[in-house]
């Protein structure tokens, strides 16, 4: 077990930033902490690095209790959103910093630095200063610097947050590659779900200081455990309805099967735009709809569908299908909802979920 966190709590001036969090990360895993701003994900990461001291709970790193150990005794590499490079040092000196302050033998420093420059694909830039390289390169230097002293754990705090879309894309691929090469246990914080779902082996979704769900990207995306996860990860339609007869919710002509809720219970049904099946001919169980608007989304076309004049849902269909089926504004179509998730409709509590198809 590489990182083990139990009952971790941090309170800033009466605001509970991290609220009784528990999790474990295996050696060599690549984990994303995903959540909106203010969900406590950065604070959690900073506590693991020793940059904040928790008010309650314990942290074990590679089996050792390090709850209030100083940052330098944790052997953790930390990468900041805004790089935090030493501006007065060359790239070489930046990367060598961790080795120098730990009094590594001189003859080991130069080979290690050039090995890292190779790893982060920045060979030839060692004599430059941080101000003379691009943002993406700076972040690579920051990663190399964090890895120099061979940490057991690499922590990245919104590492690509300050970069433009294209560079983010590149660095995502690069960080995956890097992890394959180094196999160092990695935990990174992000508010970008694409980043989390694309890179991580495992995702922790955080909200209001708590971990709402923990699972593989597929589990998080396909089986959201809470309304928050359903809304935060990926796009979703949701409708509110009431359980009218045992195991059945009706919303207009749509019927949803749910289990475990008493009649009269208010229910929220979530379904993704790509789980709305649109066809130009009626099929069993399909419902009439009219396309009120179409929007271009690259490979997909977004259809705004009006059902029974007052209900609106969004569907995503592949561009080719939309063209061949004649899905244009004003067209009459037939709609089925193939997959959905139901949650008890209460804003503030998180209930056990119930998934039926």
């Amino acid at each position: 077990m590489s990182i083990e966190v139990s009952n971790l709590t941090k309170i800033f001036n009466g605001f509970t930033a991290v609220d009784d969090v528990n999790f474990q990360i295996e050696t060599g895993e690549l984990v994303a902490l995903l959540g909106p701003s203010g969900s406590g994900k950065s604070t959690l990461l900073r506590m693991i690095a020793g940059l904040e001291i928790p008010d309650n709970g314990t942290i074990h790193l590679t089996g050792k209790e390090t709850t209030s150990a100083s940052p330098r005794d944790r052997n953790v590499g930390f990468v900041f959103q805004h790089y935090a490079l030493f501006k007065h040092m060359t790239i070489y000196d930046n990367i060598a910093f961790g080795l120098k302050v730990r009094k590594a033998p001189k003859h080991e420093i130069a080979p290690r630095v050039s090995e890292l420059l190779e790893l982060v694909q920045l060979r030839g830039l060692e004599k430059r200063y941080p101000s003379q390289i691009s943002g993406g390169q700076r972040q690579r230097v920051a990663v190399a610097r964090a890895l120099a002293a061979r940490p057991n754990i690499l922590l990245l705090d919104e590492p690509f947050g300050a970069l433009d879309a294209k560079v983010r894309e590149e660095l995502r691929k690069w960080i995956l590659q890097l992890h394959e090469q180094t196999q160092v246990t990695t935990l990174f914080v992000t508010h970008d779900q694409h980043e989390a779902l694309e890179i991580a082996h495992k995702v922790f979704v955080m909200n209001k200081g708590k971990i709402e769900q923990e699972g593989t990207p597929a589990e998080i995306f396909d089986h959201p455990a809470t309304p928050f996860v359903a809304e935060f990860v990926g796009e979703n339609n949701f409708v509110e309805a009431e359980v009218v007869e045992p195991h059945t919710v009706r919303w207009g002509q749509f019927t949803f099967r749910v289990n475990g809720y008493p009649t009269g219970q208010k229910i929220r049904i979530y379904f993704r735009p790509n789980d709305v099946y649109v066809s130009s001919a009626p099929e069993s169980g399909s419902v009439n709809a009219r396309i009120s608007k179409t929007r271009f989304k690259g490979a997909l076309i977004e259809l705004h569908l009006v059902i029974e004049t007052d209900k609106q849902i969004i569907a995503h269909v592949p561009k080719g299908v939309a063209h061949s089926s004649g899905f244009t504004e004003g067209a009459e179509v037939f709609v089925q909802i193939t997959e959905y998730h139901a949650f008890r409709n209460s804003e503030h509590t998180i209930d056990e979920s119930l998934v039926t198809i």
Binding site: H88, V101, Y129, A149
Partner: protein
Amino acid sequence: MIVKKIISKLTDGKKSKRVIPGFGLSLGFTMFYLSLIVMIPLSTLFFKTFSLTWEEFYSTISSPRVLSSFGLTFGASLTAGVINVIFGPLVAWSLVRYNFPAKRIIDALVDLPFALPTAIAGITLTSLYAENGWFGEYLLAIGIKSAYTPIGITIALIFIGLPFVVRTVQPVLEALEVDIEEAAASLGATRWQIITRVILPVIRPAVLTGFVLSFARALGEYGSVIFIAGNMPMKTEISTLLIITRLEQYDYAGAISIAVTMLAASFILILIINILQSRINKKNLIS
């Protein structure tokens, strides 16, 4: 005309279009303004020295009393500057990094030596450090006579020089992100290593600027020093006082000789420090 010639030399004789306009105008104005305010008054000082013979000039500045005043003035100014360079950044650090009650009042207190009429500062310091003063009494008890000695002069110069160092270092410390220190700590640096390898290199140019300002101010200081100095010839007589004394005796030649020597020496010293500083900056390439 001269200005235009200089400009055309600076721009390689080509009329290049610039994104930021007004180069000619602003350089012209700068030259005019500097001439009016700084160069012309100072050059008249120099021209006046030409009315003296070399012997007159040399005999004035080589007299033991003048030489000892030079030694005292430069020595005490340098000492005060060095002490301010050590404690000024500490004050700036506390003001930037920590929150404590009455922080704003203490922050404002730093500027007091700027604002206080120097004579008042001088009288206050003298009464404090005199043999029967609050501080002077205890200093005397441990064998240090402060007022009316070079030590007292240095104390007055530290007092008037402190805000220069604090106020130049403070904004640089404010701009230094906490990230940088955290990064260093998580890379395994001790507190001492963070200070010497990460913080000091960044604030060094500002500290040096603060030193130059505080040192230069100390060289020309008059009001706050003459009360605490005691003004004993050969012992505690500073150069500026000597200039005034000469003027009061209608010895204009003597006054000018001392003034010009002071001027030249300060200029050379400050120039050397500035060259040193630009070397450091070039090496560090701080953007």
